[in-house]
Amino acid sequence: MPSQPTTLLQGTLDLLILKSLAAGELHGLGISRRIQQMTGGTFVVKPGSLFPALHRMEEEGWTSSFWGDSENNRRAKYYRLTKAGRKQLEAESRRWGRISWAIAQALEAS
């Protein structure tokens, strides 16, 4: 049973987008659905947050984009990770690992 959608934590959107693109190139809707699927429906990314983030990340040089055809022959803009994007994904993952570990520690403390 899918869990209730939760608002995105500050700073996690970038990580989720990078992670969703790690397996291969995707268009905007594809990224959105992939995140939904990866998080078991916990996070639903609205276009209003997705597109600004995508464009910002492209400007940072983490992703690059191109126009391609979707599965049912629609023109769509696809995104893929660049080398810098992969590095960023690693760095963000490590950072997130530390944060979640720390939070877990804090919650376990009595």
């Binding site: 268009h27 905007g28 809707l29 609205k46 276009p47 209003g48 947050s49 597109f51 600004p52 983030a53 464009h55 910002r56 492209e58 400007e59 940072e60 040089g61 979707s70 049912n72 629609r74 023109r75 769509a76 803009k77 810098a84």
Partner: protein, 653 residues
């Protein structure tokens, strides 16, 4: 290379706006289409599928706006858009724009011109190496009725003591000002300004001749060899930059001089002369009085304290203490003052008063413009209300106004530089030559920065009130009534007008007094009958005229040729009363009379002048000494003092 990628994105966002926008539009549309497809596949009917997709997307325009907000260079982009809109607004209101720009150009231009004066006189450092080590000597008189602290000229005794007993300084003296003389070189004759300077004068200024040398000690001794140093301009303009000029003989005042040096291009001295000759100062002749102007330079390793102590020690032991003549018991001391201050001290109050007046003009302009923009702002209230209703933030509306003001300020500032330049040129032409101790007043970087700062400050001042008023626009009432003639704005405008009137009255009062004094001076009875009197000026500072007979002959010759010239030009001869031909000259470096303390100068006048202008002295009852009777080989105009013009003034007022 993240920086490169970012720079490329920024450039693309700024300059390929249309492509970036089209791309974004296509992307959002395709996203919507994909959503619809997805919903159709899920089995929704077409209408429902599209509705659900639109709900999930949340409005294409909003999504695009969110992307735009996050774009690199978004702030700059919207700033450019605001500027463009502001420029269009100003272009569409040419009357308003023209008024504001013209007001700014005039008021800021006046400030630019006056500030250039302040800059050239008080701020710019002197064009010599290490100007902070250059100075002049002030005399401080305390403990008497005539207490003062100012630059005094020095006499021969002071000069010799200063030269010989103050090792901390390189010192030099010059004549008080340059004087016009006739220069003759070969067949060429020119009227030039001659500056008389002591040896080491150019060492104090740290000027080295580009060819030749400075004056030697030998040349500076009384009756020493007569040498001359040319300024670069004289050398180039009159002698065609002739490299063989050194050692050439020239005639100055019909006396032979040898050219020993040429000063470098652009070199200026406080005397601002064309040719320099040795002053040859001593305690006799002009050295008996305070007729020398002193400049000093601190030697390496010495301090101003040491120098001051040495000056005081040597000068206080003098025999002739002229400072004590009018005030016995006064305490006299000497101290050195930076040359810049010494040169410009007497002009400082006038210049600062001018700057203040210019500042007041600027304030008046500000008040005027504030009133104007306030009215314009009120007329634009519906526009503001509409923008606010459409979702613009108050900050965006404010920014729009400020940008328009800034644009006006920049355009006005640019024009004001032109106005300032013209005003300065006129001002320089109007002022008597050599009144200012500087040769030029350039519009340099400092003046430009000042103009820019003043323009922007003005725009802030006149834009502040309207912008504050715009903050109070009430959306509901202004949309309903389409005006905001609130009582608050009315009071504001009244306050502005009151301030403006007060400032104007003040300035008008000041300038009125000035004009009144001027007319008073112009219409003051001169004390003589000016009808039928003609004046001609000629330099008689020449050895040929030291002999009275030649002098007289010269006068007759001059009137004859003048009469002939008159006949040639206007067809009728000029009838000149030979007996009423008179000569006068200004005693160079005259000083205030001890008796009247009015600060009048003594012009020395021959009796014939008084006859010519039908002016009779009433205080001097002993009659006129005869002219020219006693002349013991001295120049007559030094020894034959016949009558003081000053008394004439006293009588006829």
């Amino acid at each position: 290379m993240p920086v490169l990628v970012k720079a490329r994105s920024l450039l693309r966002n700024l300059f390929s706006t249309r492509r970036v926008e089209r791309d974004l539009d296509l992307e959002v549309r395709s996203h919507l289409q994909l959503l619809i497809d997805e919903n159709l596949r899920a089995g929704l009917p077409p209408k429902e599928a599209e509705r659900a997709a639109r709900i999930e997307l949340g409005g294409p325009e909003q999504v695009k706006e969110q992307v735009r907000d996050k774009r690199l260079g978004h702030g700059l982009h919207s700033l450019i858009a605001d500027c463009r809109f502001g420029a269009r607004q100003l272009y569409k209101n040419p009357g308003f724009t023209l008024t504001v720009v013209l007001t700014l150009a005039l008021s800021v231009g006046a400030n630019t011109a006056i500030f250039s004066l302040v800059n050239a006189l008080l701020l710019k450092s002197l064009p010599y190496p290490h100007p902070e080590r250059m100075g002049t000597i002030y005399t401080r008189i305390a403990g008497s009725s005539a207490a003062s602290d100012e630059r005094h000229n020095v006499n021969g005794e002071q000069w010799q003591l200063l030269r010989d007993n103050v090792p901390a300084l390189i010192s030099a003296v010059s004549g008080v000002r340059a004087s016009g003389v006739n220069l003759k070189a070969g067949s060429h004759v020119d009227y030039v300004q001659d500056g008389r300077v002591s040896a080491h004068y150019f060492d104090v200024l740290a000027l080295q001749p580009i060819s030749g040398r400075n004056f030697s000690e030998e040349e500076d001794r009384p009756n020493g060899p007569k040498a001359a140093i040319f300024s670069y301009n004289l050398w180039r303009n009159v002698f065609g930059a002739d490299p063989g000029i050194l050692g050439q003989p020239i005639l100055l005042r019909s006396e032979p001089y040898t050219v020993v040096g040429v000063l470098p291009e652009g070199a200026t001295t406080p005397l601002n002369a064309d040719v320099y000759t040795p002053l040859q100062p001593d305690r006799q002749g002009e050295g008996r009085g305070t007729n020398f102007r002193c400049i000093i330079r601190l030697r390496d390793g010495a301090t101003w304290q040491e120098a001051n102590a040495q000056i005081n020690r040597t000068w206080l032991s003098r025999t002739g203490r002229y400072e004590l003549a009018g005030n016995p018991g006064a305490k006299v001391s000497y101290h050195s003052v930076p040359l810049q201050k010494g040169q410009t001290d007497s002009l400082r109050p006038q210049v600062l008063a001018l700057m203040l007046a210019a500042g007041l003009i600027l304030l008046i302009a500000c008040a005027n413009l504030a009133g104007l923009t306030l009215v314009r702002m009120m007329r634009r209230t519906p526009e503001v209300a509409t923008r606010l209703a459409l979702g613009a933030s108050r900050w965006q509306v404010q920014r729009q106004f400020w940008i328009e003001n800034l644009l006006l300020a920049l355009v006005g500032g640019a024009f004001s530089v032109g106005v300032g330049f013209l005003a300065l040129k006129e001002l320089f032409l109007l002022l008597p030559e050599h009144l200012l101790p500087v040769a030029s007043m350039p519009l340099d970087a400092r003046v430009m920065v000042f103009t820019l700062a003043v323009s922007i400050l003005t725009s802030v001042l006149f834009g502040m009130l309207p912008a504050l008023a715009a903050r109070r626009v009430d959306l509901r009432s202004s949309m309903a009534s389409r005006t905001v003639a609130g009582s608050g704005n009315l009071r504001l405008r009244q306050a502005l007008i009151a301030g403006e009137v007060a400032l104007t009255v003040m300035l008008l009062g000041g300038s009125g007094l000035l004009i009144r004094s001027l007319t008073h001076l112009e219409t003051l009875p001169p004390g003589f009958n000016p009808n039928g009197v003609m004046v001609a000026k000629a330099s008689l500072d020449d050895v040929r005229y030291h002999d009275p007979a030649t002098f007289q002959e010269y006068g007759c010759h001059a009137t004859d040729s003048g009469s002939a010239e008159c006949r040639r030009r206007i067809g009728s001869p000029l009838r000149i009363h030979r007996k009423r031909l008179g000569y006068s000259w200004r005693w160079q470096g005259g000083r205030p009379t001890g008796r009247s303390r009015l600060g009048l100068r003594h012009p020395w006048v021959f009796r014939n002048v008084a006859d010519a202008v039908a002016c009779r002295p009433r205080l001097y009852q002993r009659g006129w000494p005869q002219f020219p009777t006693r002349c013991r080989g001295e120049p007559i105009f030094r020894s034959k003092v016949l009558w003081r013009n000053e008394s004439c003034w006293a009588v006829h007022r």
